[in-house]
Amino acid sequence: MNDAATDGFDSSVADRLAAEALIVDVDGFEGPLDLLLSLGRTQKVDLRQVSVLQLARQYLAFVDKAKALRIELAADYLVMAAWLAFLKSRLLLPPDPAEDDPSGEDLAAHLAFQLERLQAMRDVAAKLMARDQLGRDFFARGVTQEVERVRKVNYTATLLDLMQGYARIRTKDEFRPYVMDRDAVFTMEQALERLRGLIGFAGAWTDIATYMPDGWDADPARWRSATASTFAASLELVKEGKVEIRQSDAFAPIELRRTEAQ
């Protein structure tokens, strides 16, 4: 593709050069340096040996022609023209030993260097584009496999943690006989189980107290535990969307009913 591009460019430059006697196509050049390079190439010599003086004359003639044809020249073409006119005079006149400015030869050498460098860059650009290219001459893997990111939480515990944990529990037991003292606790799981069984019947608003387990009202501690767990369980059911809950006022009875299917 680039070969074609550069070739196309070359041929179009050749075309332009051929037609130049009549048409000054300034737009066809990428600036004064490009124009100078084209002019330099018509000298058909190595750019190192290019005659900058001749080049300056060619350029100035070109600019004069453009002016005669009333072609608007961009400012940088005119700047270059002025500089080349200056360079020309420097090259033609003997150097003034009193002056500290760079000699015409130095300036000319630098211009030649610039031209050679630009040409060199164009040559390597063509070489680069002529290389085998990915997706055109050689190819990458057609089907790729993404690396899957797996986030893993690794919980750690040492045997010491385990033993200390167990010791902690058993130490509590050291101080009292191993008894079932948990019978004063009505767990939320128990309350939830109980509520789930009964809630189907609660079509109308019913006081939460009616769901308390039987026989737990004798002991205040048990009653307290049962109240707390039943309340927590009913909240859980509200969260699940199974029941609605309301309380008209602080300390007023808490009522619930099952959510009607919609």
Partner: protein, 230 residues
């Protein structure tokens, strides 16, 4: 084409030879390279017909595939048949390389450790029994976590009313803690000998209330707070 030349024997021999060499299939090793490149660069699996269509005239993709497949045997990628087409795929045993694991280490919560310890020391044990021993209700999440870590699994159901499930520790658990069996867990005596069973609780735990029943309330509170934690 080769058939043609055979039949038209009246043609000059040189021409026939010319045409033959013109259409001669590339050497098999070249064909193998071609199949290799096509399978590599194509997104979809490629059928033998497609391969032959894309390769120079006279090539035998099926044969090249046989060679290529053999060449990739035991390699990091293999030539595999997908339906009636062929593709290059990662060797199954190297799938783990396609995963990037980020591992986060977290300390197991106190509730989980205690629950785990109880299961280890008392297995098989029901949830109610765990709660009995810990003195607080065990949240669903705690047991789920231990199950998920595969340190605990369900044991046989207890033959008591309600047929509750029991929990036991797993081989993974034993491996993690470097135990031959749960029986190797140090007993109470050894815990005491190791200074782990002092009558003072380790720092940071609930202060011990001397007499039994008094701490029931506290326990209940602890249970509650745990109930609302997760």
């Amino acid at each position: 084409m080769t058939d043609d030349t055979e039949f038209q024997s009246d043609r000059p021999v040189e021409q026939g030879e010319d045409r033959q060499s013109l259409f001669e299939a590339p050497p098999m090793v070249e064909q193998e390279r071609m199949v290799e490149a096509i399978l590599f660069a194509t997104a979809e699996p490629v059928t033998v017909k497609d391969l032959n269509d894309r390769m120079p005239h006279g090539a035998d993709a099926a044969e090249a595939l046989v060679h290529l497949r053999k060449r990739y045997e035991g390699r990091g990628v293999n030539v595999v048949k997908v339906g009636d087409a062929w593709a290059v795929r990662t060797a199954p045993d190297l799938g783990f390389l396609m995963q990037k694991e980020t591992v986060e280490s977290r300390k197991l919560s106190r509730a989980a450790i205690e629950t785990l310890a109880i299961i280890a020391y008392h297995q098989p044990v029901t949830r109610a029994e765990i709660e009995e021993i810990r003195g607080v209700s065990v949240s669903r999440g705690t047991v789920d976590q231990l199950l998920e870590m595969e340190w605990v699994r369900f044991g046989r159901r207890r033959m008591t009313p309600g047929r509750p499930v029991t929990f036991v520790v797993t081989q993974d658990f034993l491996d993690h803690f470097g135990l031959e069996s749960a029986r190797d867990l140090p007993g109470l005596k050894e815990l005491r000998a190791a200074g782990l069973l002092e009558n003072r609780p380790p720092p940071g735990t609930t202060p011990q209330v001397g007499e039994g029943d008094l701490d029931a309330d506290e326990e209940a509170q602890e249970g509650q707070s745990e109930l609302f934690e997760d």
